[in-house]
């Protein structure tokens, strides 16, 4: 099973984490299983022994009832306590692993290449990620713990049976272990393909649902609404087929356990009858052996679901493994230190993997300290790519980029479900409250914050929900103000804002930009008009470089969107 190697990074994560708690959980689980087995075995032995002793008055009086009956009660209580402890410990261990897993996944995705991949298909990848994390959640609880408990109890049963008869012990132990592990393993292996199909069908179903909602008008007007509904049904039929395969796989494990269990029980009954006939064991030992066998298969039943879910877990491990194993790489180191120059780009070409043509090519220019440069050109001309190169987020395929430390304000306002202060502190963790209030006031949120009853401690919803788009943009701006970077890279800073708000935001930005170098990627006149110089990009090349007060500058401005 070569795909098992994908589990490596995950198991390592488990092992490097709280292996003590993980171990306690497994040990308690084993204790619970053993207490259950012992309870049944001891009870059976006790009843049989008392039954035989009770046959005559003399033996009845001599029989020590205290130890066994106390033992039975102790096991009953002990089993409950150990089960409670087991559930607490295993869940605590799981929660700790989850915390580590989420941190590692975040770090993995925070690498530049991954960030870029995420930007292209955010909702699909994030959906997949959620399901994968959930699938890994069950690895410890549904697979590792039951596996250990089952193996441990099979061994203990074999040892206990060895006191009855060594060959019986070997036979029962071997059967329990071989069926208990081989069967789930075979089924887990077989169901991997179904699990994969299932995960795929669910993604397809989800994607088609999103298309139905977002593209409803387009579908209605092209006579394709019914077809889209049928496409969703087809995805569900695929999903159902995979569901049913997995259900059958789980049922097959049950059937296998059931038949082997019945055969084992019948065999042990025959064996102890022979042993008793030959006088090697008495009836109490016979009962003990039968009941131990009976209880012995129970821990394996817990592996049933784990076996089927294991396929899904493997798929998740395969997908998440790389991001867990990834080592964080550092930001580009070639910062410029010479004074006078903020950015120096020389013969840069960048081609994204899997695309036919370069995103930018033959780029050479330099930006002086304190200069304000507007990058204009149609969408897809390479403006955002250029900003990414200067920020060090993207590495050029050839050529060189050197720049002083910079910070980027993304085109889409990105805020987080956190307090206002928490959102601001992302830019500068050591920022004091007055500094934050000052930044907010500069961004035009001064009144807003004084009117807020919660002040800086006000919680925002996911993605900054609860703010208007203007307020959100201003908050992002305040965050930019707090950041001590020499270069500001602004990607369409006022896109989506109404005219008055946009002008105000722009005005405030320029007020705080004294002494900074500013590069702004834009479509609209108001943003470009603040620049000392306009660079025009077309299909990844700079086609014009126009300083302020030149004819070209005014012509380019007049061609931009006027609002």
């Amino acid at each position: 099973m070569t795909s098992l190697r994908h589990l490596g990074p995950i198991l390592k994560l488990f092992w490097n984490g709280d292996r003590r708690v993980l171990g306690y959980g497994a040990a308690l689980s084993l204790t619970t299983a053993l207490a259950g087995i012992a309870l049944l075995g001891l009870s059976g032995w006790f009843i049989t022994a008392t039954g035989i002793a009770g046959a005559t008055l003399a033996t009845a009086l001599a029989f020590d009832v205290f130890m066994p009956s106390a033992g039975i009660r102790l096991l009953a209580l002990g089993r409950t306590a150990s089960r409670y402890g087991e559930r607490l410990t295993t869940h605590e261990a799981t929660l700790r692993v989850l915390a580590r897993l989420r941190e590692r996944i975040f770090r993995g995705w925070a690498l530049p290449q991954a960030t870029h991949r995420l930007a292209v298909q955010p909702s699909r990848l994030l959906f997949r990620l959620t399901l994968d994390i959930d699938a890994l959640d069950t690895l410890y609880l549904r697979v590792l713990v039951p596996l250990l408990a089952a193996a441990g109890s099979a061994l203990v049963i074999a040892v206990a049976l060895a006191f009855v008869d060594i060959w019986l012990a070997l036979a029962v132990g071997a059967t329990l272990l071989s069926t208990g592990f081989v069967l789930p393993l075979v089924v887990a292996r077989r169901s991997t393909a179904s699990a994969r199909r299932r995960a795929h069908a669910l993604e397809v179903l989800r994607g088609r649902g999103i298309n139905l909602v977002r593209g409803q008008a387009d579908l209605a007007m092209t006579n394709r609404l019914g077809a889209q509904v049928r496409a969703i049904e087809e995805a569900d039929v695929q999903l159902a087929a995979a569901d049913i395969e997995l259900n059958r796989a789980e049922a097959n494990v049950s059937v296998g356990f059931g038949i082997v269990g019945a055969a084992l029980l019948a065999g042990v009954v025959l064996a102890v009858a022979r042993l008793a006939e030959s006088g090697q064991i008495g009836a109490p030992a016979a009962t003990f052996a039968v009941l131990l066998t009976l209880a012995g298969l129970e821990p394996f039943a817990a592996l049933r679901r784990g076996a089927v879910e294991f396929g899904r877990t493997l798929l998740a491990a395969q997908r998440l493994g790389p991001s867990l194993a990834a080592t964080p790489c550092r930001h580009r180191e070639n910062f410029l230190h010479t004074s006078g120059t903020a950015v120096n780009v020389a013969r840069v070409e960048l081609r994204f993997a899997g695309t036919a043509s370069s995103a930018v090519t033959g780029l050479s220019f330099h930006v002086a300290d304190g200069e304000r440069v507007a990058l204009v050109g149609p969408s897809g001309a390479g403006k955002s790519t250029l900003l990414g190169l200067i920020a060090g987020e993207l590495a050029p395929t050839s050529g060189s980029v050197a720049a002083r430390p910079s910070t980027l304000m993304t085109q889409r306002t990105e805020l987080f479900g956190d307090t206002l202060a928490g959102n601001l502190a992302l830019a500068r963790p050591e920022a004091t409250e007055p500094e934050m209030l000052d930044a907010l006031a500069s961004a035009g949120l001064g009144e807003f914050i004084t009117d807020l009853p919660g002040g800086l401690g006000t919680m925002l919803g996911e993605g900054g929900a609860g703010l208007s788009s203007g307020q959100a943009r201003r908050l992002a701006l305040a965050r930019l103000f707090l950041r001590n970077a020499h270069i500001w890279l602004l990607d369409e800073p006022t896109e989506g804002l109404d005219g008055a708000t946009a002008l105000d935001v722009l005005h405030r930005t320029m007020e705080r930009a004294l002494g900074k170098t500013v590069l702004v990627a834009t479509h609209c006149r108001r943003e470009a008009s603040i620049a000392d110089r306009i660079l025009v990009l077309r299909e990844g090349r700079i086609v014009e470089d126009a300083p302020r007060h030149s004819i070209a500058f005014d012509r380019i401005l007049s061609e931009l969107r006027p609002d």
Binding site: L77, G261, E414
Partner: protein, 582 residues
């Protein structure tokens, strides 16, 4: 045994002619024949009950051993144990299969109704759920319905039936042992209920909290570009871990209570078994001489009772272990049913299924008479007695400030929202439930935000329309000037929501989509030049006019340049309505 059979049944349960169907509440709630579920439950209960004779045979065989009967006497009981065990397994499997397939078919039916309802809901309805929520209710949340129906429900029936039969069997041998079980069993539900109220609430809270942990991660991943730009990757990762750990600690507080309920169940089950064992033992020793109907129990009878005791508690324990399946399943069902509610339907069926009737190419006239429309839950109507006449082939611009109902008017003309009163005639034919789907096949639509489906560019032009072959796609792409783009892209896929396409490219794609339709006689365009730079806007206008030659064109726009190129410009009457979308 084959899975293909079950799949075929499910495929049949989703009939091909779904078109035009509307989800009715009766058909939504009518699941699969309840007799299947009853049969499945009977099979599973019978399977559980085969343990009674099996336990009897085990006890009988050991009784024989104790009495020193020869080993050959164990042959028949052993054979019985084997056969009963095998038949129990097979019966249970049959029951599990039936109930699972029934549950899965039911899920398919629920999903289909939800999809039909989503498709039939007016896109103009403001109460529509966002696509992410719809997708999640339709896909992963709905999945929880199956475990609830297939695992929880049968176990509930088992928990009601099996303990009763076992109790009766034990009672037939010993009233004292039966009393021990009887005392332990009702205490379980009582204590469970006491702890369970809190436990249920706690486990739901825990689910929500685990959900929070995922939400936090996703929220941060969505804003990764900013986190990287601010150099906050490490801090955010540490914060994520700290928050997750704190969440873990508080979750544990909750779980401590939640697990109490199952601990109590375990305790009573274990004590019940222990008490039965101790009672039987002392009884066999002759120290507890009461409790059996026939004086004293034999060893075999005593063992039999002991073997039955754990089976008495087992269904209850199983039930408690799938408790959360119910909450998740009910939530999944509720989410699906919410999707299946249609408040404001689109006019007509989902699809024109008529035979490819004669579709004249000539332009459509448009006549609107005394039109009345108001949004759901809005008192102020958008239109009251609105009239408009457009000649065939006329190009008309509708100008109005935001919120005056330009987009609404276009949607009404396309039958994407129902009018409250008045009439709309296209080419003299009234637009109503019977004609809308067919009339729509003659209308091309350029929405404000054309949706880009994940797939290729050519696939996005054709949209799977059967009458559009690759030649038609090529022609449409040529007219819309996206040939160059198509060549650069080749067969590569377009990203989510058209990632990688600019606004102008998306619009030209929508133009190609409109141009590809053969019988188009009327083009409705909603602010086609908004958010475009001047060059691109001019180009898009040229393309639009080229496609609209000889066809009726109605454009809703703010753009004076575009409006100037139309035959006629009208301004909508009425006040801006804050609830209307422009």
């Amino acid at each position: 045994m084959s899975t293909t059979g079950a799949t075929a049944r499910i495929a049949q349960a989703a009939p091909r002619n779904a078109v035009g169907l509307r989800a009715t509440s009766e058909s939504r709630l009518a699941g699969v024949a309840p007799s299947t579920n009853r049969l499945a439950a009977v099979l599973q209960v019978v399977a559980a009950l085969t343990w009674i004779p099996q336990a009897g045979l085990i006890a009988y065989a050991i009784g024989n051993i104790a009495e020193g009967v020869g080993a050959d006497a164990a042959l028949l009981p052993a054979l019985g144990i084997l056969l009963l065990g095998v038949s129990r397994t097979l019966l249970d499997r049959a029951g599990t299969r039936l109930v699972f397939d029934a549950a899965r078919i039911k899920l398919g039916v629920l999903r289909r109704h939800a999809a039909l309802a989503i498709a039939g809901q007016s896109p103009m309805d403001a109460s529509r759920l966002p696509s992410g929520q719809v997708a999640s209710a339709l896909a992963e949340q709905a999945e929880a319905v199956v475990p609830w129906l297939a695992r929880y429900r049968p176990l509930r029936i088992k928990a009601a039936a099996v303990p009763l039969v076992i109790l009766a069997t034990v009672l037939s041998l010993s009233w004292a042992a039966a009393i021990v079980l009887l005392v332990a069993a009702p205490l379980i539900p009582i204590f469970m209920a006491l702890v369970g109220w809190r436990a249920k609430e706690a486990s739901e809270r825990q689910l929500v909290r685990i959900g929070d942990m995922n939400a936090f991660l996703l929220d941060r991943l969505r804003g990764l570009a900013t986190i990287r730009a601010l150099g906050a990757v490490n801090r955010t990762a540490l914060r994520l871990r700290d928050d997750a750990n704190a969440l873990g600690r508080s979750t544990m507080e909750v779980l401590r209570i939640a697990f109490l309920s199952s601990a109590i169940l375990e305790l009573f089950a274990a004590l019940g078994v222990a008490m039965v064992a101790v009672y039987v033992g002392f009884h066999l020793l002759g120290e507890l001489n009461f409790g059996a109907w026939a004086g004293t129990l034999s060893l075999a009878e005593g063992l039999f009772i002991l073997l039955l005791a754990p089976a008495f508690f087992e269904p209850l324990r199983d039930l408690s272990s799938v408790w959360h399946d119910r909450a998740a399943g009910e939530a999944g069902l509720a989410a699906l049913e919410r999707l299946a509610r249609v408040t404001q339907p689109i006019v007509g069926g989902l699809e024109d299924v008529g035979t490819k009737a004669h579709r004249p190419d000539d332009a459509l006239s448009v006549a609107i008479e005394e039109l009345v429309f108001r949004y759901q839950g809005s008192a102020e109507p958008v239109f009251t007695g609105f009239n408009l006449a457009v000649q065939p082939g006329e190009h008309l611009a509708i100008m109005a400030p935001s919120g005056c109902g330009k987009s609404t008017l276009l949607a009404l003309l396309a039958g994407l929202a129902p009018s409250a009163a008045g009439a709309i005639r296209l080419g003299g034919e009234p637009l109503n439930g019977a004609t809308a789907a067919r009339l729509r096949t003659r209308i091309a639509w350029l929405g404000q935000q054309p949706h880009v489906f994940s797939g290729t560019l050519a696939g996005n032009v054709a949209l799977g329309r059967p009458d559009i072959d690759h030649r038609a796609v090529y022609r449409a792409m040529t007219v819309a000037h996206i040939n160059g783009l198509a060549q650069r892209r080749g067969p590569s896929l377009i990203g989510e929501n058209g990632a990688g396409l600019s606004g102008g490219e998306t619009l030209r794609l929508a133009l190609a989509r409109a141009a590809a339709g053969e019988g188009t006689a009327l083009i409705l365009a909603d602010e086609p030049t908004a958010h475009l730079d001047a060059d691109t806007a001019a180009e898009v206008t040229d393309r639009l006019l080229e496609i609209a030659a000889g066809r009726t064109l109605i454009v809703a726009t703010h753009d004076p340049v575009l409006a100037a190129r139309m035959d006629r410009v009208i301004t909508l009457p009425g006040h801006p309505n804050s609830e209307a979308k422009s």
